[in-house]
């Protein structure tokens, strides 16, 4: 987790320069490629569809972006399964992707009262696979640009 993306992982496989402050990321099975902020912390393959998560920015680690892979599911079914709490409607985007946002509370822990977070799900259908890009930030904090940039760079393969 401590590994900074820029140095750690399987990256430089990307042909294109990902741009300043960004690092290309491609998992071992090359199932997708994306560009992520270079100094965010990384976890990989944490179970149940999880492929990779990025935590940052380093001054707070208040935001996270997760990439998940699901077999044989639709955007509607995906949203339905995660509509606990308050979830907005699923909207289809002109680029063929879908998205919705939800609000939820973080688990109680360590003297920290539960915090309300806004979770934005961008869903990318690719054949029989549905990729979910999940951006979490405290609701009190404005959305940064990292997620939109990462989502724009995300390319499923195969």
């Amino acid at each position: 987790m401590r590994a900074l993306l820029a140095a750690a992982l399987l990256l430089a496989a990307c042909a294109k320069d990902p741009g300043p402050g960004k690092a290309g990321y491609e998992p071992r099975d090359a199932a997708f490629a994306l560009a992520a902020p270079a100094d965010w912390r990384v976890t990989e393959d944490q179970g149940e569809g999880h492929r990779v998560s990025f935590f940052g920015p380093p001054g707070s680690y208040a935001e996270s972006i997760g990439v998940y892979r699901y077999e044989a599911t639709t955007p509607e079914a995906y949203r339905a399964a995660r509509a606990g709490g308050s979830a907005g409607p699923l909207t289809a985007r002109p680029d063929g992707r879908f998205e919705f946002s939800a609000r939820s509370l973080t688990p109680e822990m360590h003297g920290r009262p539960p915090e309300e977070v806004t979770v934005r799900h961008v869903l990318v259908p690719a054949g029989s696979v549905l990729w979910a890009l999940v951006y979490t930030r405290p609701s009190s904090r404005p959305a940064g640009i990292a997620f939109d940039e990462l989502a724009a760079s995300f390319k499923p393969k195969g």
């Binding site: 308050s86 946002s101 003297g111």
Partner: protein, 684 residues
């Protein structure tokens, strides 16, 4: 005045407490009402009485010739940078001036909790390490009964600061190890150091300055390496004896620290036995509780539950950090400490308000509250029931500490001081398995509790749920780590040990022994990581599918009558076993509910979201009026959120506008969307 502390062992424990304590603490925030209740009449020992003695800067110098210092006390003064000038017979301040005799007496005197405040981390460490506060005198006593002096307090505080510095240096070194000397220093490295400093893990000033001014990684590597090596030497101060001990197998009381003290006296023992009985009764109502309780056995198979203490985890109720703790598990799994302030707050809010003031006065000490709890078993049991998931979580940590060797080797200095996130993931999922059993037994009670949303998140998507735990930990404790990172830190420690070993032959031998010790740490780390992976896989393969099947079944049954849209959502969750006929019937029932006018717009929009999602799956056709009904429900929700936006400001306002827009889009309400766009433009 004897000073009683364990030198390097204490340093190791501080280092452990600095990073491991949070891992073993579940600080369930107290309801505000309970915090306020607990803050009434907190007793004398809250550091607010006037008359705390100030530092004595002038006066008759202390005479070393007349009153020589005992070796242990002298070591403590020297640790604080005082020096003994034997020739002149004077004890010297760090600036070289003689220390007045009155100042020596001040620092030798016991710390006075009525007049003085103690660092919150140090307070929590003392009470969970066998020190006890004498509530009448407001003085701490160590496990042997000796007073805790101001000098000991300063020494402990310094060791804690050094332990925090060591952790910050270790973190920086790990970040630098990914860079080449000519690489620019990424902003993220500086931002991370600043964040760690906010959490108390500050770099030594010289390294901080070097990091701030460094253009390239190589500019900061030298100062960081020097400071890290110096810090490592400090933690190696046990010399040959310490190195030999760490390199030998762990034997309790010989090469491994003795068990942490538990009960200090009979009243504590009596209360502990009663609370243990309550915990066994409450957790024992569920299969997962019985399974956990059954794990606490000694070598002969007899029950060996962790001791249950009730102590002040902070000087005052509501203090930052431990003041809001519910319970703390000891790093050796030997005891669980319930926070006196939490128990007291719950006891006070349980009685009518008219009686509260008088009771608060009576229950200002752990002993008084202990007596009251023994006399009121129903209140005691109610409190345990209120914090049962917290207790389950902490007992899981106790079991983790007992079953593996990782904590043992960490405390022996053979493994890095980390709080592995894997152990938190396990404790949280265990706590939710217990909640699952409670849901099956009492669906209404469980659904109304704060844990329900977290439980739903786990059922819906275990991967995303784990990410939320990781994110929350990273935000709160940036030092949080995983086993993979711990292995990287271990490599750094080995590298520094090799470097230190090049200085002379004696150091070479000592560091070689140290690296033998690291092998015990490596093995414990590997074994803990494999154990964690195996448990994780077993959970995903067997427990999670069962929880999904059973949990969704309970939820469908519970919501079917009063909230059919929720029942439908549960019926469509992963792992649910429902038929098409059941789902269609729930859909029709939910549509009929939405056709009824009025009701809460937000609740109706949530329900409609479930129905629209279901229709998109094309399992059934919607009724002819469905689109119109959907537009109406979503438009009402959009207007509700716009009204909220009008009353809010800043990020809060932006959030409601964002929600209004999402529902306006869902309703395809062009007029409303144009209105939202106008509002956004105006706000710019």
């Amino acid at each position: 005045m004897p000073l009683r502390f364990a030198g390097p062992l204490l340093a190791a424990l501080f280092a452990a407490s600095a990073r491991a304590h949070p891992g073993h603490v579940h600080l369930r925030p107290l309801p505000q009402e309970q915090v306020q209740a607990a803050q009434q009449d907190m007793g004398r020992c809250v550091g607010r009485e006037p008359g705390a003695p100030a530092r004595v800067a002038a006066g008759e110098p202390y005479d070393l010739k007349k009153s020589p210092l005992a070796a242990e006390e002298r070591a403590a003064w020297e640790k604080l940078d005082y020096r003994a000038d034997e020739k002149a017979g004077r004890l010297l301040n760090p600036d070289g001036s003689p220390v007045p005799a009155a100042e020596v007496e001040r620092l030798r005197a016991p710390f006075d909790a009525a007049k003085e405040e103690l660092d919150a981390n140090l307070w929590a460490w003392l009470v969970t390490s066998g020190y006890r506060l004498d509530e009448k005198a407001c003085r701490f006593k160590d496990p042997s009964g000796a007073p805790f002096t101001r000098l000991a307090g300063l020494t402990f505080a310094l060791e804690m600061k050094k332990a925090f510095e060591h952790s910050a240096l270790e973190d920086l070194r790990a970040g630098l190890s990914k860079l080449k000397p000519g690489d620019p220093v990424p902003d993220g490295l500086r931002e991370r150091a600043a964040l760690l400093e906010k959490q108390g893990l500050a770099l030594p000033p010289a390294v901080k300055k070097a990091l701030q001014g460094a253009a390239k990684a190589g500019d900061v590597t030298g100062p960081a390496d020097d400071a890290y090596a110096a810090s490592t030497r400090l933690f190696d101060q046990a010399g040959w004896h310490g190195a030999l001990s760490a390199a030998s197998p762990a034997i309790r009381g010989l090469t491994e620290a003795a068990k942490l003290p538990t009960y200090a006296d009979d009243p504590e023992r009596r209360l502990g036995a009663a609370l243990t009985g309550d915990i066994a009764a409450v957790l024992g109502e569920t299969p997962s509780g019985r399974e956990l309780l059954g794990r606490f056995k000694d070598k002969s198979g007899k029950p060996d539950m962790p001791a249950v203490l009730m102590l002040k985890l902070s000087q005052r109720a509501g203090d930052a950090g431990y003041g809001q703790a519910g319970a703390v598990a000891s790093p050796d799994g030997g005891h669980l400490t319930l926070n006196f302030w939490a128990v007291r707050g719950a006891a006070l809010t349980a009685v009518p308000e008219a009686e509260r003031k008088a009771l608060a006065k009576r229950l200002s000490t752990p002993e008084a509250l202990g007596d009251w709890l023994l006399a009121h078993p129903e209140a005691r049991r109610a409190f345990v029931r209120e914090v049962d998931t917290t207790v389950f979580h902490e007992l899981t940590h106790c079991w983790q500490a007992r079953r593996g060797r990782f904590e043992v080797e960490m405390l022996r200095g053979n493994a890095p001081q980390v709080n592995p996130l894997e152990k938190e993931h396990e404790a949280y999922r265990a706590q939710l398995m217990y909640f699952h059993d409670k849901l099956k037994a009492d669906p209404a009670g469980a659904i109304a509790s704060p844990e329900f949303q977290t439980y739903q998140a786990l059922l819906a998507d275990y991967g995303q749920y784990k990410e939320s735990i990781t994110r929350t930990y990273m935000t709160t404790f940036p030092g949080s780590s995983d086993f993979k990172t711990a292995a990287e830190l271990q490599k750094e420690r080995r590298r520094i040990s090799e470097r230190l070993g090049r200085s002379d032959w004696a150091e070479w031998g000592r560091q070689a022994l140290r690296r033998v010790g690291f092998q015990w740490g490596d093995a414990a780390l590997r074994s803990a990581a494999e154990d964690s992976r195996a448990r994780e896989q077993a959970f995903e393969a067997a427990d999670l599918p069962r929880m999904r099947r059973e949990g969704t079944g309970v939820l469908v049954g519970h919501f079917a009558k009063d909230r059919p849209a929720f029942a439908l959502a549960a019926a469509r969750m992963r792992g649910a076993e429902t038929t098409k006929e059941q789902r269609v019937a729930l859909f029709e029932q939910a549509v009929a509910e939405l056709r009824k006018p009025g009701g809460d717009a937000e609740r109706r929009a949530q329900d409609m979201g479930h129905l629209a999602g279901y229709l998109n799956e094309r399992e059934t056709d919607g009724p002819a009026d469905f689109s119109a009904l959907q537009r109406k429900v979503y438009t009402d929700a959009a207007n509700l959120y716009l009204a909220r936006a009008d009353k809010a400001e800043g990020a809060e306002r932006a959030r409601w506008v964002e929600w209004a827009e999402a529902y306006a889009k869902g309703a395809d309400d062009k007029a409303l969307l144009a209105d939202i766009a106008r509002r956004r433009e105006k706000a710019k």
